[in-house]
């Protein structure tokens, strides 16, 4: 019963990560690529994102999104306070770092808008990506700390279990007869 519950939890996690890391960003980029904003009387607002390299951006989103979803499944379906849950959640954060940097890597963090009659506006989100990477680094440290904590907890538990010797080892009289 517990096994099925774990698997169900894993699928929920996977669905959440698939939606947030693959579906929504891929659809957004695809939509932005095709989007045409007409400006009266007969001009068009041109949004230049990833310098026409949208296919590369979507490839990295899907590729790393799939890896993240797989790791999320493993992490969410693992039992609470288990070593494998923490190890896979660390891997999940590392994969998230790659995912985040892939935006910058493929040129999706900078985009420009050509406003007719006014000029060009450029947005660069590389600074925010660095901020997030810093936060992820701290999360990794916190998770490693938790892994150490769980490891020590398990060792202590094992030590306590070792003290227990069942009655059957010596018999009722303690093996005196």
């Amino acid at each position: 019963m517990g096994g099925m519950k774990n698997i169900f939890r894993g699928f929920i996690g996977m669905a959440i990560y698939m939606t947030t890391t693959m579906l929504i960003p891929a659809l957004t980029f695809d939509y932005m690529d095709k989007m045409v904003i007409p400006i009266p009387p007969d001009e068009i607002l041109d949004i230049e994102i990833a310098k026409g390299n949208i296919a590369v951006v979507i490839f990295w989103l899907v590729a790393l999104g799939l890896t993240i979803s797989g790791l999320a499944f493993f992490s969410w379906s693992s039992p609470k306070e288990s070593r494998r849950k923490i190890v896979f959640s660390i891997l999940l954060v590392v994969a998230h770092c790659f995912y985040l940097w892939s935006y910058k890597f493929s040129g999706a963090t900078a985009f420009g808008v050509e406003i007719p009659g006014l000029g060009r506006v450029t947005f660069d989100f590389a600074g925010i990506v660095l901020l997030y990477l810093g936060a992820y680094a701290l999360i990794i440290v916190a998770k490693i700390w938790k892994l150490i904590e769980v490891e020590f907890g398990k060792r202590k538990e094992k030590k306590e279990e070792k003290v227990y010797i069942p009655e059957s080892t010596f018999g009722k009289d303690g093996g005196a007869n």
């Binding site: 774990n6 894993g10 660095l130 227990y164 009289d173 303690g174």
Partner: protein, 116 residues
């Protein structure tokens, strides 16, 4: 700009802005360090691993299948210890007064023979 005229939204925006402003000093240098190795790994992947979806789909399938197998078989549920067994555990944890070795619930130590 229109949204910022709503007081609560402006407060939230200010709050987030303050968090970003102060955490930037600490987090951005850490992010720069992270950037170095991430960029190196992504460059390696970009150069040596072909840009094919199949590779990542295989990774995804391996992770899900191994997750199902491992977490189904080792679900992390602890066996329930019955009350009688608990009592037995308390008794069996008794140790010899003289040599310190476990003696179960017996009167005599099976190792040194002394009476407890």
């Amino acid at each position: 700009m229109i949204l910022l005229q709503v007081d609560i939204l402006r407060m939230i925006a200010d709050f987030i802005g303050v968090i970003f402003l102060y955490s930037k000093v600490v987090l951005t240098p850490i992010g720069e360090v992270m950037k170095l190795w991430i960029e190196a790994v992504l460059n390696f992947i970009d150069t040596f691993i072909p840009m094919r979806y199949e590779i990542y789909i295989i990774i995804f399938i391996i992770l899900v299948v191994s997750g199902v197998i491992i977490n189904y078989h080792w679900s992390g549920e602890k066996k329930e210890v019955k009350e009688e067994e608990k009592k037995e555990m308390d008794v069996s944890a008794k140790k010899c007064k003289y040599c310190g070795k476990p003696i179960g619930d017996s009167e005599f130590c099976p190792y040194c023979g002394s009476r407890n």
